[in-house]
Assembly symmetry: C2
Homo-oligomer: 207 residues x 2
């Protein structure tokens, strides 16, 4: 028996995430979050315990979303695994979408992996952020590794290659495109990088 909450929690966290993405953590004030979300300062503190709490919850929500996208894109039968990997790579280098139905931000810098951006900015002095960011990385890396194994079973990738090593490398490339994109390079250039990476995947020795 009490007054129900008047805002949508996820909607607020999305708005906060967008703000953090464009201004960074230290570049975003509580008033900025307040303006972006429409919530007053008091409500923010009551619901999320301040700026840092908003960040942690936004990253947690991001993590939950992130786990779904690549998993759905990459999971499936062994047949076609290589094509799925190809499609994922091409999409991933153009940024991480804010939500399942929202395409990545138009400016590539704002579309960089949220977790990566926060980890680079404050991860060195914020263990919790660092851990959360690494969780984001790990879950995607695992999905990629699984898809690599599927492609290996289907004879599309050299069975001697270590799928974990390949997954690490591919994810490192995707994270690298966040940086290259922040430099201002065109989407075409990022596509070209992704295609180069895909072309270098080790094929079976004798087909």
């Amino acid at each position: 028996m009490a007054r129900p909450r008047n805002f949508d929690r996820d909607h607020v966290l999305h708005a906060a995430e967008r703000q953090f993405r464009t201004s960074g953590y230290n570049g975003t004030s509580v008033d900025d979050i307040s303006a972006a979300t429409g919530l007053g300062r008091g409500s923010l503190y009551g619901a999320f315990d301040g700026k840092h709490g908003v960040l942690l919850e936004a990253m947690t929500g991001y993590f939950a979303r992130l786990a779904q996208g690549p998993r759905k894109m990459l999971a499936g039968p062994d047949e076609g695994a290589l094509e799925r990997l190809h499609a994922y790579l091409l999409r991933a280098v153009h940024g991480v979408p804010l939500a399942a139905d929202v395409p990545p931000a138009s400016d590539r810098a704002g579309a960089a992996c949220f977790a990566a951006k926060m980890a680079l900015e404050i991860g060195a002095s914020d263990a919790e952020v660092k851990r959360l960011a690494n969780d984001c990385f790990s879950v995607v890396r695992a999905a990629v590794a699984e898809c690599v194994q599927a492609a290996q079973r289907n004879g599309d990738i050299d069975p001697d290659a270590d799928p974990d090593d390949l997954a690490y490398l591919l994810l490192t490339i995707i994270r690298g495109t966040d940086v290259v994109g922040a430099y201002g390079h065109s989407p075409d250039r990022l596509t070209s990088i992704a295609e180069s990476a895909f072309a270098l995947l080790p094929r079976p020795r004798h087909r």
Copy 2:
């Protein structure tokens, strides 16, 4: 006939760079810079025109240093170009040194490419920083592309591969390891990523 400057400009810029690297741009106050460099606020404003000016000059100095390191490591005869590329890749994934004779910071997060870190944090809203960061990227990329061409001439890399594409990809990987390193992964893991990347370089079809 006047009082001479009492500090070494490069030394001050190095200290500021280290501060910016560990705390980020927005996370660094003018007092922090003052404490790190030993200069008073007035001197900082007189010599560098404030925080943003310090950043620009620090990045310019970084650019000048950065241009030399890889160029010296990668330049040389066609013979051995592939080995030089290998050595460079292995070193690069462990961070960018603060100076020629100073090894990268012990914490991998603080050793990330200074330009990349700044570009990701404020590049979206600071065109000058973005441009400087891209210059840093371009100069190293050009050095790598040249080394790739040397290796091609020596028959160590598939002559049909586009050296610029390969250089973009390799640099993207190196930038990606900055992010992966910020997640807290071990140096061994980064070495492994570098070795995987090197192993995938396209070799000539018939040796």
